[in-house]
Symmetry: C2
Subunit: 334 residues, 2 copies
């Protein structure tokens, strides 16, 4: 099955590039609300499921025991830009477990945020694992290990108690088996498991609505969604799509990007979960798709124009001249 064109990028009067994709929107009972493209194909959710991966930390009471703040909970769900606030929060989480960045197993990269990247260079410094966009998730895993009285060493391995617990949480929420033959290694070295988009969307529908979850899981999901809605900067960073959209919509939409053009969302007031993938892995396409779906399903007032600008961004060149536009397809607009 060919995935449909869902996003096009225009230059002048012509279409320069086109992105195909697949979309699944389901309700909290798992019933399909919208299905576009080949939704049966398994997709690696990558960082789009960080909020679901943070569930064990919160529902176990360990986040509470370590007195993690809302900013820190939000950072546990983040693909952050490595700005000073992100780095400080990751450090603080580790300190609460009595540890430091030496325990992080996510690897080192320069900050994703360009300004943070150059600011670090201007200080004559290099990056540490704290600047890795996944450092908050990893600090959360380390807190989870310590709270479970497990040695955090090797916490990225599929058979470490931390990853087993995280995998169980993902299986519970999505209803999809996370089998080793459908597994890969993520950018930060933890396992990632390919599952179909409707399962992923179902996990987010339940994360948003709490339907069918234990009382502890419901409370954990609510705590996580609220923490992110209060601190959307912590989950991404300056100018980033997730931060901008949630600064506009707060608790009405939980959205999270993943590498290779994956996006997930929960729309709690409707009980809907959304999962999408740009076939080619492109992030600009995935962002436009997500903004279009939010516009399609949520009744928006004066926030509408700001979300529309995220769905169909104007492209400007280095002189600020308008040269093109990203456009979403009528199939997405509905």
């Amino acid at each position: 099955m060919n995935n449909p064109f869902l996003v096009e990028v225009a230059r002048g009067a012509l279409v320069e590039s086109r992105h195909r994709g697949s979309v699944s929107v389901v309700d909290a009972d798992g019933a399909a609300v919208l299905s576009l493209g080949d939704v049966d194909r398994r997709v690696f959710p990558r960082s789009a499921v960080k909020a679901l991966q943070a569930m064990p930390l919160v529902e176990s009471g360990i986040a509470e025991a370590y007195a993690l703040t809302d900013e820190e909970i939000a950072l546990a769900c983040a693909s952050h830009s490595g700005e000073p606030e992100h780095v400080a929060a990751a450090q603080s989480m580790l300190a609460k477990a009595g540890l430091d960045e030496g325990c992080l197993e996510c690897g080192v990269h320069w900050p994703m945020g360009e300004a943070a990247n150059r600011a670090l260079a201007a200080q004559g410094q290099g990056p540490s694992a704290l600047h890795n966009n996944c450092s908050g998730k990893h600090a959360g895993f380390i807190c989870l290990a310590c709270g479970m009285n497990e040695d955090p060493t090797g916490y990225v391995a599929a058979e470490h108690p931390v990853q087993r617990r995280v995998r169980e949480a993902l299986e519970d929420l999505t209803g999809a088996c996370h089998t080793q033959e459908k597994g890969g290694i993520d950018g930060c070295s933890i396992p990632t498991y390919a599952i179909p988009l409707p399962s992923l969307a179902f996990g987010f529908a339940r994360f948003g609505a709490g339907a069918g979850l234990s009382r502890e899981s419901q409370a954990a999901a609510e705590r996580i969604r609220r923490a992110v809605a209060r601190h959307p900067f912590m989950v991404a960073g300056t100018g980033r799509f997730d931060t901008r959209l949630m600064e506009i919509l707060r608790e009405r939409a939980f959205v999270k990007t993943g590498a290779e053009g994956v996006y997930c969302a929960a729309l709690p007031e409707l009980g809907f979960g959304i999962a999408l993938k740009a076939e080619d892995g492109n992030g600009r396409a995935a962002e436009a798709m997500m903004a279009a779906l939010v516009l399609r399903f949520l009744r928006l007032g004066e926030e509408r124009a700001a979300v529309e600008a995220l769905a169909q961004p104007v492209l400007r060149n280095w002189n600020g001249i308008e040269v093109g536009q990203v456009r979403v397809s009528p199939d997405l607009v509905g």
Copy 2:
């Protein structure tokens, strides 16, 4: 017509993302050697035609009159990384025309090369138009204007004598009309004209083989190809695909990337020109496609392994662990 899948990106045992594309390879008579996907669709060549855009500068004798070096000629064809050597050569070209960076109309951006970017920040400096990846092409345009006794001011406009002359050269080489309704504005503010891939490939076949060109044009094409083959660093930069491939193959393959997944090449010994586009605009796909086509058509000896590594690069995560691979389709391998 659906473009075929030409590149896939695997993670673990699964395919994570897939890229479709179109390819045209033609000989110096314009006869099709290989055609994949929708090659009739017009494509903006963007920076992939910089070498053709540099033809008027050289064939007019103006490059010679200003004593432009091989490094500077190569820079006139470059999408460079903004490394110190690139910046110095652009400055030198402008100085030879009695001008400086104040004349550049390409806009300002931080160096494309990460190390150059951070080195500049570490020096407490910001970027100038010299760091723009197109500054060499623009310095060439300014030399052309001065050599033509034209005021360089406004040299980026479609109706400035410089852009008219460049457009004529592109029409001569490719045989395709460059009409305003198929025009767009490029990232550096000059016009870019969408033409079909076979026309673009034909232009590069003739640029490589010299067939059907005037003696001045033949000599100019040869000078440009040789300058780039001698200085592949100047046309891109540290670690970049064009630089790496031409460091391996020198005069056997002239290759040039363009934005939005376009790539062009000339294989002079065969008289072939290549033009390709990743449907989604993706650069990793376009690079893999180009390397696969070079492998398909050129008889390679001990260089083969190095080019194969460019066609099917292994993907490693932040800890250096192998997590996947880019793979080209059998349609490309032939």
